[in-house]
């Protein structure tokens, strides 16, 4: 409780340090701490702390007390069998899904709640929306707006949610489309683009709000195999840029390459986590070993 009380004050940086110290000292059992960002990424923002998060749908408990920390600029890849709660966990991070217990902070600021007395009150919609502009999300099914062109998709939120000028948003939008290699398709509608191109537009759209954190929910699983890499390459570039990334994926090769931390989830819990080498080469838990033996070997034998 003292951790939350401390965060109420505004000397954020100091608080974060204090909180980290507190977290490592008094962390709830099983708190997973991701590896610090490597030295070539001078990231200062985008610290994500998930503490003992619980979530049920009706009688089924989907998240059973999940704790995870990702440092600024860190890249955490979440893997695990279908139905283990990966998407649900990701959606709690931007409050698309409300938690039933526990809490999530970003740079020390509670997501979706505020402290009043000794209670956490849910924020009003307006404030939640404002928080979400710091958290980009890329969906498995792209969810581009089909009635808007690629560029219009990218500039919609900056104009409507951040009240930026249209000219400024367009300029930045074109830069972002260029970054994902789609400058020349700026005026195409989503249905005129391939799946891989659509997902790259979706990434540009998420970047347009200049988020501290990007969440990816199986960004390549709706794509044909030959389109997967063009999307993964864009995410690889992002990983070097200092934005904190949390990626749910079934692409083990990608996880091995890009992740600082691989998190293995099963049945609503984090079974274990660590560097890709640790997790892939010598997993500690039997569950992890059997999952990877099913998922990785066939993939690498091809």
């Amino acid at each position: 409780m003292s951790i939350i009380a401390a965060r109420k004050d505004s000397a954020a940086a100091a608080q974060v340090e204090e909180k980290k110290a507190a977290a490592s000292a008094a962390a709830p059992e099983g708190t997973t701490t991701a590896q610090p960002a490597s030295a070539d990424r001078p990231a200062t923002r985008g610290q994500v702390d998930i503490t003992n998060v619980r979530k049920s749908f009706g009688a089924t408990e989907v998240l059973k007390g999940v704790s995870l920390s990702v440092p600024p600029g860190g890249v955490a890849v979440i893997v695990g069998p279908s139905g283990s709660g990966k998407s649900t966990l990701l959606r709690t991070i931007n409050h698309l899904e409300k938690v039933d217990g526990g809490y999530i902070t970003i740079d020390g600021e509670l997501v979706g709640y505020e402290v009043r007395g000794n209670k956490l009150h849910e924020l009003r919609e307006k404030d939640i929306l404002k928080q979400r502009t710091h958290i980009g999300m890329v969906f498995q099914s792209f969810n581009l707006f089909p009635h808007l062109t690629a560029l219009e998709n990218v500039i919609e939120a900056p104009i409507v949610a951040q009240k930026r000028s249209k000219a400024e948003a367009r300029k930045r939008g074109l830069e972002l489309l260029d970054r994902v290699g789609l400058k020349d398709r700026a005026d195409a509608y989503p249905r005129q683009l391939s799946g891989g191109q659509q997902q790259r537009v979706a990434i540009a759209r998420a970047l347009a709000l200049d988020p501290k954190i990007l969440l990816f929910d199986e960004p390549t699983s709706a794509l044909d195999p030959e389109l997967v890499n063009e999307v993964l390459d864009v995410i690889r570039e992002l990983a070097k840029s200092g934005t904190t990334l949390i990626v749910v994926t079934h692409e083990m090769g990608f996880a091995r390459d890009v992740a600082d931390t691989v998190v293995f989830m099963d049945q609503g819990q984090i079974v274990e986590s660590g560097t890709p080498q640790d997790i892939f080469a010598n997993p500690r838990e039997e569950r992890t070993r059997s999952f990877f033996s099913k998922v990785i070997e066939p993939a690498f034998n091809i």
Binding site: N94, L96, E125, K126, L129, K130, Q131, R132, T133, I135, G136, M137, F139, S141, N143, L144, F145, P146, H147, L148, T149, E156, A157, V160, A161, Q162, Y189, P190, R191, Q192, R205, A206, L209
Partner: protein
């Protein structure tokens, strides 16, 4: 045939001839021409009977078609359609949003509204509104259960024929449009709303900028159906002796006994209005289909232009050969 053909082997195969100088000839469709001729003949026969049968009394139709009283009636019809159409759809939009909201109170209010107005005959609704003065002598605006009144009037002076007609048509229309709009909104993928809220776009903008433009594709065909229905539906206000188009021609033919030609006058005007609306419908639907189709089909005008530039403009060069 194939039995007689010599077996094609690598040695005997002749070299592929060069076709590059040949002219391309599109496939002919003789049956299409036969069909066209038959349909044209049928249409001509009907047109001929319409023109030559004296009982249609085209002279009378022409005489009344632009008569002042008929035009006045037409204007009233257009006025009723426009006002109750617009108000009906605005109210319908609000009702649809209420119905889709998460507040149980709003949902049940909206549901009850649609239930009542869809289950009572429009005729009864109109007569009730017009005779509201019989049920409630005065209408007043004030604080309930006190004597404070800001405004008070005789019901009969407040509810004219026009007011009763607009009230009846609007509320009835709202109940139906609400369902049409709700259906359109439901047809938009849930992921769209999710993506918009993940981007921090406020609820109202999510509805108006993301969901509605996509819902329009499903809403428009039904909405135009309703509006076209309303154009002719306004004729029901004849029960209030309101002189819109249909009531006007009734009054005239009761006087002149030229029933058929005068019904024809009204019919022709309805056809004109519907045709104009259909053109609007075409272009509005086209506008909202952007992004939904990979390539938009040509408009009839563009098609005609293309036809003339390829066929008519090309023919002189053909003749020159």
């Amino acid at each position: 045939m194939s039995a007689i053909a010599p077996p094609a082997t690598a040695e005997t195969a002749p070299p592929t001839p060069d076709y590059s100088d040949y002219q391309l000839v599109p496939a002919r469709h003789p049956w299409r021409w036969v069909g066209t001729v038959l349909v044209a003949a049928g249409v001509a026969a009907i047109a001929w009977s319409l023109v030559t049968n004296p009982r249609w009394e085209w002279g009378v139709v022409a005489e009344w078609f632009t008569a002042q009283s008929v035009v006045n009636g037409l204007i009233e019809t257009l006025k009723l359609t426009a006002i109750s159409g617009v108000l009906g759809f605005v109210l319908g939009f609000i009702l649809a949003l209420m119905r889709l909201s998460s507040s149980p109170l709003l949902v049940s209010v909206s549901w009850t509204f649609s239930w009542i107005f869809r289950s009572t005959p429009l005729l009864v609704q109109l007569l009730l509104w017009y005779n509201l003065g019989y049920l409630y002598e005065k209408i007043s605006l004030g604080i309930p259960f006190t004597d404070v009144r800001f405004f008070e009037a005789q019901t009969t002076t407040l509810i004219s024929q026009f007011a009763a007609a607009v009230l009846g048509l609007t509320l009835n229309q709202a109940a139906y449009s609400a369902e049409i709009i709700r259906g359109g909104i439901l047809s938009v993928d849930q992921g769209q709303l999710e993506a918009a809220s993940a981007l921090g776009i406020p609820a109202w903008k999510r509805s108006t900028r993301i969901v509605l433009p996509q819902a329009m594709r499903a809403i428009l065909p039904n909405a135009f159906n309703e509006i076209i229905g309303l154009v002719k539906g306004t004729s029901i206000v004849y029960v209030l002796a309101y002189s819109e188009l249909f009531y006007t021609v009734q009054v005239i033919y009761n006087r002149t006994q030229q029933v058929l030609p005068l019904l024809l006058v009204a019919t022709l005007w309805y056809v004109v209005i519907t045709s104009v609306l259909s053109v609007f419908q075409y272009y509005i639907e086209r506008h909202f289909s952007k992004g939904a189709l990979r390539t938009l089909p040509l408009t009839p005008l563009q098609k005609a232009r293309k036809f003339f530039t390829t066929h008519v403009a090309a023919s002189p060069t053909k003749d020159a050969r």
